[in-house]
């Protein structure tokens, strides 16, 4: 999206690009007040999209921070689990916990 000026002449032309069937298509909007309005409209939409993206990114980061405790829970339970099984006479054999013979 943007303003373009041709080699000859002083007028600026507004064009916008959009995706159509997986391809970028550049749409010619023109010049004058109608083009100015279209440009302002596009700028407003772009800003709105950026704000939305920032909002959702913040939400995701907030959730990530709040879910960080799960790492602590996982660590504590995994260490305790392993220690508990070893102390109870189990051993790991090919990735599986088995009870030692005679224990």
């Amino acid at each position: 999206m943007g303003w373009e000026s041709r080699e000859r002449g002083t007028r600026r032309y507004y064009t916008r690009s959009r995706w159509v069937d997986g391809q970028v298509v550049r749409e010619y909007v023109g010049s004058g007040p109608a083009a100015e309005i279209a440009a302002l409209e596009d700028e407003y939409k772009r800003q709105q999209r950026e704000e939305e993206a920032a909002f959702w990114k913040e939400e995701k980061e907030r959730l990530e921070a709040r879910a960080a405790f799960l790492g602590e829970l996982a660590e504590a339970s995994e260490v305790l689990l392993r220690a508990h099984l070893l102390a109870s006479g189990f051993h790991k054999h090919k990735g599986q916990w088995r009870r030692k013979c005679g224990s």
Partner: protein, 178 residues
């Protein structure tokens, strides 16, 4: 909100880890020492980790409920019910910790579901939707959490099976050909 294990608990976990490694390599002394250290430190580790789990769950509930007290209450009640259901009548401290982990993961799945649903909702105007990369990120995270949730459930089932004295039921079918 501080949701990290305190330094002394982390040290105890590190000591257990080191002893477990030695015991796993066949060191009998280390196995005996592991039993002693486990008896001494496990109650505090379970207590502290469970406390973090409880506070973490509350923080997640606040996020999912978006300050709606009714949803907060409903989620809390559902979580309590789930906790009691999975833990059963007489859970060991280790089981309590695993159940806390399972319930917390379930809650995170709910929170991520909420994020995805909000994005895919037909009520959300097109201009309020984020790009595909955001959704992809969330879906990937959701997949990862679901995998951890299933793994935690499996671990709990395994530990119960290993701890029980009764051997697993084995079905043998004999077919006589003659």
């Amino acid at each position: 909100m501080d949701l990290e294990l305190p330094k002394d608990v982390q040290d105890k976990l590190a000591a257990l880890q080191a002893l477990s490694e030695k015991a796993e390599n066949g060191d009998k002394e280390a196995r005996n020492e592991l039993r002693r250290v486990l008896r001494e430190s496990a109650p505090e580790i379970v207590l502290r980790a469970s406390d973090i789990g409880r506070r973490g769950q509350w923080a997640l509930i606040k996020t999912v409920a978006a300050n709606n007290p009714l949803t907060e209450e409903a989620l809390m009640a559902r979580l309590d019910l789930m906790h009691a259901d999975i833990a059963g009548p007489d859970p060991s401290p280790l089981e309590i910790l695993l159940v806390k982990r399972i319930c917390s993961l379930w809650l995170l799945i709910e929170a991520l579901d909420m994020l995805v649903n909000a994005q895919l909702s037909s009520n959300l105007p097109r201009e309020h939707r984020t790009g595909m990369s955001f959704l992809r990120d969330i879906l990937k995270w959701q997949e990862n959490v679901s995998r951890r949730y299933l793994a935690a459930l499996k671990t709990l089932a395994q530990i119960r099976k290993l701890q029980s004295n009764t051997p697993g039921i084995q079905y043998n079918t004999q077919i006589n050909l003659r």
